[in-house]
């Protein structure tokens, strides 16, 4: 194949000073008149925070919306599991917060690998999110005077995190779901639950709909529209064991990538420091213990290698509170990437605790002494109970044991300032896009971003797009739908026909092991090259030897997972390739070859201040990488320091 023409990635950032860009955009955006909006149909895939908020807001404005999700009800999207909270620059604590500071913390937390304009807008709209969610009747935590409470999260020195007990994601999602269901009632949204999008349909280069499998009947169905929003979440499940829900997957983004949407920074993944360690084989997921615990818990390991004594018998001066020692100003609240890497480091030194030495302590003894058990209980009861339930250990009495686990993916489909991908009419929101978190996401910022995208950004940018294309009819009779549908059917039949000897889960397990060991918390040239070769051979074996049970036209979970694992095998390789080309360390991407003498991530701004956006070039072809340079006009990238 000849060299493909390079694409100029135009982020379409409005002119003018950072503070005015979003206003400028809104002033100049084309509008669709209220009476005309119902003539436009928007297909929204996913009903997490990003999808539900977008679908509801667009329907409120008068657009016709089709909403698809995998679960039986939109309310069950993965967002429901978020525990800790949502950030906003309200400065209710009078502790010096501002839009600028939230913007700066987010850019710095992302290790200067995100786009200034997008992040600034995120900080700007953050306050409106809290206003809107409070107005929805969400029971946020309150002070005695009736005003909203805040807690602090990692990577910030202000308290700007709003929360509803340990169920913030649930409450925010139920708010967005309620708004969505109100629009269903008003006839503006049609729900299609238990549908899995399996392909994107483009007509004349524009996104015009999707093809999905009905997960109850197995029917392959067509959903056409004037624009498509993908809000299908992240891809941490490539690692097999992660904190994500078991149905979280990469299929929608991966198939759009194969249709020509560029995939940005696939190697930027977040390994969360505070998860319950793996207990054994057969485990299906890892459970997160919210980062908010690091407000009161102290992380430590024994100073001595291989110290087998129970924690209570290890005297104070034989403990290493390594985060407090290394980072006196942020202490236990350093950003996630740093906390995870340091945990791995002490375990690699043989100072880890618990079975296999693969965990560190998160100790609440001091906090209980200082504040009393009732206060700790009021803050974290559900988390402590969950921990107790899973491990059979009581964290009020013995320190928790925690270890890092794959949690969030900063990478995702490339989008411009309008949140539109490289395919016109395909918009991407929430964790599925790459936009705002650079190489590392700060805690409580994913909920903020998902809702910012859905409530406050897409309603403007989609209107602008739709006004530009006009409301002409879109038919699902277009031959492009036939082609996509045929492709999906062939894929499904092919997988069922292999009838090999290894199960889907075995392949997933094997891939997860390669990803964790070689494309995980620390990466190097040799390991990454090996990973690529190993994943390729696993993929070949999958094609020849997978065993998928059941039938096409039936409720068939094994078939669903087969499609997802087949896509993970492609995406895993792309992640390794991306990690290989980025010969610098930044945020969650740590290359052993690029570290400061203190072991911190060492960026190489001269060579890598760009977004790596990958283009699919066909089966068996190498993808090619495009660069979007990241010019920093207002902030000066510095070596991150949390000391």
């Amino acid at each position: 194949m000849s060299d493909p023409a390079p694409i100029t990635l135009d982020p379409r950032i409005p002119e003018g000073p950072l503070e005015h860009k979003w206003d400028t955009f809104k002033q100049e955006a084309k509008l669709v008149a209220p009476a005309n909006r119902r003539k436009y149909t928007v297909v929204v895939v996913g009903t997490g925070l990003a999808g539900a908020s977008a679908a509801a807001s667009l329907a409120e404005m008068g657009y016709t919306v089709k909403s698809l999700c995998i679960s039986d009800s939109p309310r069950r999207a993965h967002s429901i599991a978020a525990q800790g909270g949502i950030n906003a620059a309200k400065n209710y604590q009078n502790d010096g917060d501002s839009v600028w500071r939230l913007f700066y913390d987010t850019i710095k937390g992302g290790d200067f690998r995100s786009r200034e304009a997008n992040v600034y807008r995120l900080a700007q709209v953050s306050a409106s999110i809290i206003d809107h969610c409070a107005a929805q009747g969400i029971p946020f935590a309150r002070e005695y005077g009736g005003t909203l409470s805040n807690r602090s999260f990692g990577g910030a020195q202000v308290s700007r995190t709003f929360y509803a007990r340990g169920q913030t994601g649930q409450q925010l999602l139920l708010g967005a779901y309620g708004a969505l269901m109100r629009q269903v009632d008003e006839g503006n949204v049609t729900l299609y639950p238990r549908r899995e999008m399996l392909d994107l349909v483009t007509v004349d280069g524009r996104a015009r709909g999707v093809v999905a499998r009905n997960l109850v009947t197995g029917a392959i169905e067509r959903y056409s529209g004037h624009a498509v929003i993908l809000a299908t979440g992240g891809y941490s499940t490539v690692f097999h064991l992660s904190t994500n829900a078991v149905n979280s997957n990469a299929t929608a983004v991966w198939r759009c990538y194969k249709r020509g949407a560029l995939f940005a920074n696939p190697c930027f993944t977040q390994i969360h420091p505070t998860c319950i360690p793996q207990a054994g084989d057969g485990q299906s997921k890892l459970t997160l213990m919210s980062e908010s615990l690091r407000n009161d818990g102290r992380v430590w390991v024994p100073k001595l290698k291989g110290d087998q004594r129970p924690p209570a018998q290890i005297p104070e001066d034989e403990r290493d509170y390594y985060l407090e020692r290394l980072y006196p100003s942020f202490g236990n609240l350093v950003p996630r990437d740093i906390a995870s890497r340091r945990a791995k480091e002490v375990c690699d030194q043989g100072r880890g605790v618990g079975p296999g030495g693969l965990s560190v302590y998160l100790d609440f003894a001091d906090a209980v002494k200082r504040l009393g058990e009732p206060v700790i209980r009021s803050r974290y009861a559900n988390l402590f109970d969950m921990y107790h339930e899973i491990t059979n250990e009581n964290p009020y009495q013995v320190p928790m044991r925690i270890y890092p686990a794959p949690h969030y993916t900063m990478g995702g489909l490339w989008v411009d300032y309008h949140l539109m991908s490289t395919i016109p009419g395909l918009f991407v929101a929430g964790e599925a896009n790459f936009s705002d978190h650079g190489a590392n996401r700060l805690g409580a910022s994913a909920l903020m971003q998902g809702l910012a995208d859905g409530y406050f950004v897409l309603p403007y940018t989609i209107g602008h797009y739709l006004a530009g294309i006009g409301p002409g009819a879109v038919a699902d009779k277009d031959p492009a739908f036939d082609v996509a549908e045929r492709g999906v059917r062939e894929d499904v039949s092919r997988m069922l026909a292999v009838n090999g000897s290894r199960t889907v889960r075995e392949f997933w397990h094997d891939l997860g092991r390669i990803m964790w060991n070689k494309v995980g918390m620390s990466r190097h040239e040799k390991g990454l090259s090996e990973a690529i070769a190993e994943i390729q051979s696993l993929r070949q074996e999958f094609a020849k030897n997978v065993r998928v049970s059941g039938a096409e036209g039936d409720f068939n979970k094994d078939l669903e997972f087969a499609g997802r694992v087949s896509d993970y095998l492609g995406l895993g390789e792309l992640m390794a390739r991306d990690a290989l080309q980025r010969r610098e360390s930044c945020g969650g991407h740590f290359r052993d070859e690029s570290a400061t003498p203190e072991g911190e991530a060492l960026r190489d701004d001269d060579h890598f201040t760009y977004v790596a956006a990958w283009r699919y070039r066909g089966e068996g072809q190498l993808p090619d990488m495009q660069q979007e340079p990241l010019p920093f006009e207002r902030v000066h990238p510095s070596q991150r320091s949390y000391k």
Binding site: R76, S128, A134, G282, S549
Partner: protein
């Protein structure tokens, strides 16, 4: 698979489709570590069945940590099992004596038709929420968040009710298959929060009407719902719903 785990007998409801007859089938699982969850033990069994060329058991889950409400199995005769305050996915194998028999059946109710094996259709809950389980506010119309203070204990009370995960265990456990705990939880949350006051009469009237239309039974105060609720939603949300309903009826008569 590890060899040092325990062996269990699983009796599982198998039903190929909504209108097809079902039956309990018996399986043996071996090598099960006490740290595994019940659903993970089912995963292990399914792997076995797939290897043997048999149809795996259809069941559902998503978060596997008790918050999404997607799982839901009647375990040994009790919705979500006999352990208080937990969902099916939170049950660990250490809760069952090694060698014991565990019976797994779907949540049953007329309003929750079976799709396959342990999988049911709970869309009726969505249709109830669509009739009023929200505050009718458009994006962009909200006042400043601190403009409406909410007393701390009220916010806490609202949160107790808002914790509902919509799993349907309350319906499965109720002899009348009533959805009152589910509806009462949402009605109470929004009756407590001042933001929900403007439309409280309309909300309760419409939600209750939809609940009846879906074929859920009436509440006759058995209290089984509260006993199985994984989020321990207090039964007084049902009294609250009744008060709200009476209030709305009186208001509509007196104007």
């Amino acid at each position: 698979m590890t060899t040092n785990g325990h062996t269990y007998t699983l009796k599982v409801w198998r039903q190929p489709g909504a209108d097809r007859p079902g039956r309990l089938a018996t399986y043996t699982v071996t090598g099960i570590s006490p740290d595994l969850s019940l659903l993970e033990a089912l995963d292990v069994l399914n792997e076995d069945l797939i290897r043997k060329g048999e149809d795996p058991i259809a069941f559902e889950s998503d978060c596997r940590e008790g918050i999404c409400g997607q799982c839901g199995i009647v375990v040994n005769g009790v919705a979500h099992g006999s352990k208080l305050g937990c969902t099916t996915c939170e049950i660990r194998m250490r809760e069952f004596a090694p060698g014991s028999t565990i019976t797994l059946e779907p949540f049953r109710a007329t309003a929750f038709p079976i799709i396959k094996d342990l999988v049911i259709n709970r869309s009726a809950f969505d249709r109830i929420i669509a009739r009023g389980g929200y505050v009718s506010i458009n994006t962009g119309a909200a006042p400043e968040a601190n403009a409406i203070p909410v007393a701390r204990d009220l916010a806490e009370k609202a949160m107790d009710a808002a914790a509902c995960i919509g799993c349907g265990a309350c319906v499965a456990a109720c002899p009348n298959a009533s959805a009152s705990l589910f509806v009462g939880a949402k009605v109470s949350q929004l009756a407590v929060m001042p933001q929900g006051h403007a439309e409280r009469e309309r909300r309760v009237t419409r939600m209750v009407a939809q609940m009846d239309a879906e074929g859920f039974g009436n509440c006759s105060n058995h209290g089984e719902c509260e006993a199985v609720c994984p989020k321990e939603i207090p039964i007084h949300v049902i009294s609250r719903m009744r008060r709200e309903y009476i209030r709305a009826s009186v208001k509509s008569v007196l104007g």
